[in-house]
Amino acid sequence: MSNPSRTSELSADVPRPGPVPPLRVGRPTRATLANGLDAMVVARPSVPRVEVRLTVPAGAAIGPNAATSELLRAGILLGTKALNQEEVSEAIQRLGGSLQIQQDHDRMHIAASALAEAEEELYRLVCTVITEPAFPADDLETERVKLIEGLRTARATPQFLAGERLQHLIYGSHPYGRPEPAEAAIKKTTRGQLADLHRATFLPSAAQITVVGDVEPRRTVTRLRRAFASWSGPRKSAKVPQVHPQSRPEITFIDRPGLVQTVILLGTSAPPVGHPDQIPLTLASAVLGGSFSSRLMANLREDKGYTYSPHTMSEAHLRDSLLGAALDVRTEVTAAAHVEVMYELGRLATVEVEPAELEESRNYLAGVRVIFLQTQAGLASSLAQVRGYGLDHRYLEGYSDRLAAVSPADLRRVAARYLSPANLTTVMVGDAAAAADDLARVFPVKVKRSGRGANH
């Protein structure tokens, strides 16, 4: 047994709390603007601020190459026809807020905030930034150099290498499997390509805007209508291609001589948000590696001392989720650690979880969500995320009930289907000369000698 000291009854003297409180979002105000922009507004006057999330389909939904896509994300912040990049930054700072742009495989996300008194100016600024980017040539050159420097650092980071390889093994040529851009592609992307991709991406009819904060929702809708009135574009629906995920029976071991730890990364394609298996699978993932008290923590860290932070993770996509587990272990225990990981995965897929452990994981997931939704920023991000799947606040509010409906048998079923050792693809990054022989005595391993290693 991995954790012999675990008792099914918790220490008797400790005062026990009541149930996790229900999640309450409040009733949002919804509106579709004349240009098709789909707006949702929630009043949450906890502090005098306002949070905005604006998302548009991008990446896999549009289908550009990775370099153009990444340069577009960076290029949006380089200023507009009227304001250079510093003036955009100055404008947002005067509103007491911030403006950031991120991109995942399916969408571009603009996250902006301001003091509540500057609400309407914030909307106007966001609209200007996304609709009138200037992509100045000089600044674009600097941005290319920054992106290349960032990619070189990423490619020197073992966890990044493992993640990039894992996605490629699972998704192949699908955009979800696409590696980060090559330096040459970043250098040769043209301003014309950026402008074309910008026009294809920032379409109001495909966009969603979510506002949470110290606002009066009906007045906010009026302000949104005014601020975004100038944003126009054709009505097009973006579609992400179906995924055809693969799994690999052998461990792919990327050799980086000199590393002192092995990154172990396992993953699989799992159902998207909203699928009936997704909630039981979230619970299975929590039991395995979702918290300080999870099985991977109890076994590999608190019993064996092999690793600092073993955990499970899930990256939500429109078509599926990339579900996995990750840990970094000192080189000499690579094989021993992987045996324990396989044991924990196998146990989850074959032995029903005790009701008490399941209940604790339910409480944990519900509690974490309550904590996250209590800030304006957390609520805005959560609403924006579920809206991307055609869901709304009711999905968030119903989370606890859906968790409560999962039985130990459900959990074992989804664990066996998605998280079993036979279903997972494994990538390791480490010093093959020191780790791979041991590993190969227990598991099938394919070592990939890396072209370019550390600087020695």
Binding site: R6, S11, G18, Q93, R94, Y308, D328
Partner: protein
């Protein structure tokens, strides 16, 4: 700076007979509570030969007690729908839980229990030594720019052991730690008189006071620990050091200046100066050195950067500026350019708009932090435990508004001088131990 010793309207503060300092901030906007225990025990008081011990001991605080076995400890909190963590810093170590409001009493029980009944034994000590070594490997040794710059710069910038040792710990020192060391450390530094408890969130104040008295009142008082001696003189001339990193693809550089101590006239102006200098694309250093002069790709910095802020320390600390030069530009040229920009703002001061924007950002970030249980807890905890001034949390936005351009200029001129700085050139290369 305004001097007010009475707590702000939203705070209540009390001291138990055993010396425990308690801060309550009742905020009923959502049904959760945050409970934080701050011990005035950080990196700086580690003994020679025991580098990294304060952080190792933090790990032991999660290993169970005579009442709550190791395997139950985290389960109680996560199983109630809560999250938990802790962190070790220069002058304090904190432990916190964020939980549903109904778990307040349980959290009080757990914190009081581990203040008095910690189970220190050979098995968990050896286990956590292994875990901490893995933490150092993943955060420092097995990644590019590991520990850059916070872990290394202070080792060059200071000359006395309390400030200049390896805070994460030399492996030999971690391995040499004993259960007896842990017992002595616990007895000396983890008593109620050396701690501040902070409760933030959805509770009735009077009922919370009852819970606090019930669970912490019975913890025995311990003798007051000695005040750690950390003062050391300001360097008189710039020192330059190099370190090679076999995983780093590009050079970086960090400049560490001494930063203005809490409570001195330059303290808040220098904190505001860090926003003016490097917060966002419109900041002075980013605008001048990335866009206009095309010397750097990145620049950022501030008091106690990148692991803290202007309030997180009591003894001497650094105002750090980190920069990545453009390819083909040396770290030395990057430092020269930063010196030039600082000299200019030290001579001319910030523009009115630069000052205004920094103040607006401070106000926005105060509200954002207050909106989060953990944000509010952290502000109150640090101000109370390190500076005995929790009421400042709600006064800072106003105090920042009162800072003048002349004060910012003087703070930069007084503190960010090349002759008082230490430069660390971080270079791609294989001699990891330079």
């Amino acid at each position: 700076m305004a001097r007010s010793s009475t707590p702000g309207p939203r705070l209540r503060r009390l001291r138990l007979k055993n010396g425990l300092d308690v801060i309550l901030s009742s905020e009923r906007t959502s049904p959760t509570v945050a409970v934080g225990m701050y011990y005035r025990a950080g990196f700086r008081l580690e003994e020679e030969g025991r580098t990294g011990f304060a952080h190792l001991f933090e790990h032991l605080m999660f290993q169970g007690t005579a009442t709550v076995p190791k395997a139950d400890f985290g389960r109680l909190i996560t199983g109630a729908g809560g999250v938990l963590n802790g962190s070790t810093r220069h002058d304090y170590t904190n432990y916190f839980e964020i939980l549903p409001a109904s778990a307040l009493e349980m959290a009080c029980f757990i914190e009081a229990d581990r203040m008095e009944n910690l189970d220190l034994n050979e098995t968990t000590l050896q286990n956590q030594i292994d875990v901490v070594k893995e933490e150092v490997r993943v955060n420092v040794l097995n990644r590019p720019y590991g520990g850059f710059s916070w872990l290394w710069l202070s080792q060059y910038a200071f000359s006395t052991y309390p400030n200049a040792h390896n805070f994460y710990g030399e492996f030999a020192d971690l391995e040499a730690a004993t259960v007896a060391d842990a017992r002595a450390f616990y007895t000396t530094w983890y008593g109620p008189g050396n701690a501040t408890l902070v409760l933030v969130g959805d509770f009735d104040e009077d009922q919370a006071v009852v819970l606090v008295e019930r669970h912490f009142g019975a913890v025995a008082a311990r003798p007051a620990p000695p005040e750690p001696e950390t003062a050391e003189p300001m360097p008189k001339r710039r020192a330059e050091h190099e370190r090679q990193d076999p995983l780093a693809p590009n050079p970086r550089v960090a400049i560490g200046y001494r930063t203005a101590p809490f409570g001195t006239p330059d303290h808040l102006p220098l904190a505001l100066a860090s926003r003016i200098l490097s917060d966002g694309r419109s900041s002075r250093l980013q605008r001048r050195l990335i866009r206009e002069r095309e010397i750097l790709l990145h620049v950022d910095g501030g008091p106690h950067f990148p692991i803290g802020d202007a309030f997180e320390f009591k003894g001497p600390a650094l105002f750090t500026i980190e920069a990545t030069p453009r390819p083909g530009i040396s770290t030395g040229a990057a430092v020269t350019a930063i010196d030039e920009e600082l000299a200019q703002i030290a001579t001319e001061g910030p523009t009115p708009d630069e000052l205004l924007r920094a103040k607006r950002r401070e106000l926005g970030s105060y509200h954002a932090s207050t909106d989060s249980r953990l944000g509010r807890l952290s502000e109150l905890g640090v101000l109370a435990a390190v500076h005995n001034r929790p009421e400042l949390a709600d006064q800072l936005p106003q105090l920042y508004q009162e800072v003048t351009a002349e004060q910012v200029q003087a703070a930069i001129a007084n503190w960010l001088q090349p002759k008082h700085s230490t430069v660390l050139h971080w270079l791609p290369g294989s001699e990891a131990q330079s």
